[in-house]
Symmetry: C3
Subunit: 271 residues, 3 copies
């Protein structure tokens, strides 16, 4: 089992690798998140491209370093593209992240798409507590696309999902990372209460997890992205306590993160 | 007839109800507005979800507290979803707001959709002066999606629309609210001249009106959303006089609004 | 041949004309850029409308002062609309700008669309070095939608494109403008290294070029838009050195540009 310090050393390695390689990340995300996700990946060091049509999906996935799929506002064409790209990623061993936005009994169409996508073995599944619990087979009534459950209450259920994926990350007041790599559950603390008041922060976190998966193992990629967000969120909140201003500072600190800030501000627990 | 003070008391009640209930608002809006609308609803206290595909529309509308439909950049699938959701909202007595972006003789396809949507009796219709005048049967040549008429010149025409809806709200330098509930026309003053220089402010105002319609009568909902915008716009302009910075402060003040700010800064007239 | 001072005088005339006419610009752009493009055009003085469906494309292009087509995230419906609007623009002598995002051997579908669009003789083609080089017939492997080439290395190749268009603008560390109007190549300096770290700045530059093409010759329109961006970028960077804050200041300075700032801060070379 790794010590906390060993984990953080690997996160810092992953952060450096992200800056050096600026990996090309194909993002298939929702219409609310598109601009925000691209800006967050650019700020954090990756090179995003939002190619999400079925006619270019296969060729583009082949040249991408990682793939991020988020089913927030699917269209028929985008859904076709997602299935093609997930299959291509699996065939070519390109890491990919699945963000099952709104998975559950109300939003059946996307949930069926998610079920199909699971066949292509996502490298990492990232979601909120309601989505992860529903995906693990529980009956959950979420409130729209927001969670009605706490992340700490569902991470044990998430182990069931390791039959479909190498790693599960659950975001909430604290985030939890369950993986095949580590027996322990990693808890990430930090961030601030304003993050859920800004749309698409979860979607952007999923895409950043994909970016890190291009340069690190699944569990370290999930840890790195969640710490990147948690530290930037904490530092931004020290500067700005209201949603509009906070969001600008959050982008600034996502961009300014470095070794020293990671060392100084990380807060994780191994459960 | 209510006095101004009675109206403001009801607005403050509505604002409190919005904060307490954080109602789930289904937003079917345009591709320009999507992210901005979600952030404004979150800042103001509601819980937005941008479900706009025809396969999930009916089920999602049924669990929503209100529905917002904006025809700014329609696609075939989104148009289908809008018709399904409007019908569902009417059947289940869920309040819904129609924002007929660009209604008029040039943009025929969306205008035909709007005509169909009117059959499902929108709770509130919100638009700029050109859109409302065109919808009331006048021949209007708008400039793209921006108004070429003044709100004060068209509010009498808007009375004709009360056969299709319970309330009409017209935005402009001053906003005007016409309703079945009140004989008078309510004029809302405030805001600032920079708001039309930021895209999708009108679209976001429509969605916020839907959010308030989940917790108040149609006329009070329209009044509350328009005052929420007018006060936040005025306070933001006191801090920042240029578009980029103003927009951030505007989000901040939408979030910071409270009883005291409403009492201190509201400006309405009853005509 | 014009002197630098004569060129700048024409840029200032174009800027004044943009403020006075606030021309209606039809923007068919990608889902990442939509909101940002609209806000940048509003900040700079134009009146954008994002009409991109095939059922309203023809009628709307006819009343627009200029058209901007950007193939960043095409859908089937949007692609149909682009072909209709480009043809309409040519027939009605409405200036239009083509931004061939991602043109090259990997993204075949959009590249075929771009090839078809070229038949309608875009007034101006604007792109990054990889896109322009690929469009000029070279084999280029770009990194997603970002350039792998330098603008100074490809502007000679761009002359070949003058069989399809009146003007080519290539963005990069310096920008280069090649036109039928001038024998010389105009090099625009300025901006800052943060601009490529903000998504859709290139897309917005293409749309602003379309806005200026409604009030100036193709070469002056391209020069005016690129200087508008370069000066605002430089001034913004003097105020804010990180991506989030920089982007807000960039919008502010795009809005605050005037004669004096253009005179004081322009930097161009005639090659």
């Amino acid at each position: 089992m790794s010590s906390k310090q060993q984990l953080i050393d690997q996160v810092i390695q992953a952060w450096h690798a992200l800056q050096q390689k600026t990996p090309l990340i194909q993002c298939m995300t929702n219409s609310v998140a598109n601009n925000y996700v691209a800006n967050i990946l650019l700020a954090a060091g990756a090179s995003p491209a939002m190619i999400d049509n079925p006619y270019e999906a296969e060729e583009f996935t082949k040249i991408s370093a990682a793939l991020s799929i988020n089913v927030g506002t699917p269209t028929t064409e985008q859904t076709q593209a997602m299935l093609i790209s997930a299959q291509t990623a699996q065939q070519h061993q390109i890491p990919w992240v699945l963000d099952p936005v709104g998975y559950g009994p109300i939003l059946k169409w996307r949930s069926e798409t998610v079920d199909q996508l699971l066949q292509y073995h996502p490298t990492i599944i990232r979601g909120n507590a309601s989505e992860i619990s529903a995906l693990a087979g529980n009956h959950v009534q979420s409130k729209g696309v927001d969670s009605t459950l706490n992340s700490q209450d569902v991470y044990e259920q998430a182990r069931r999902l390791l039959q479909h994926t190498d790693c599960v990350a659950i975001s909430g007041v604290s985030d939890y990372i369950i993986s095949k790599q580590f027996d322990m559950v990693i808890q990430v603390n930090g961030g601030c209460h304003l993050q859920p008041k800004i749309t698409a922060t979860g979607c952007a976190l999923g895409a950043l997890t994909a970016a890190y998966s291009a340069v690190a193992s699944p569990a370290i990629a999930a840890l790195a992205s969640h710490l990147h967000f948690a530290i930037a969120g904490k530092l931004a909140y020290d500067q700005a306590q209201t949603v509009g201003s906070f969001n600008i500072m959050f982008l600034d600190y996502l961009h300014m993160l470095d070794d020293n800030l990671i060392h100084q501000y990380y807060s994780i627990d191994c459960l």
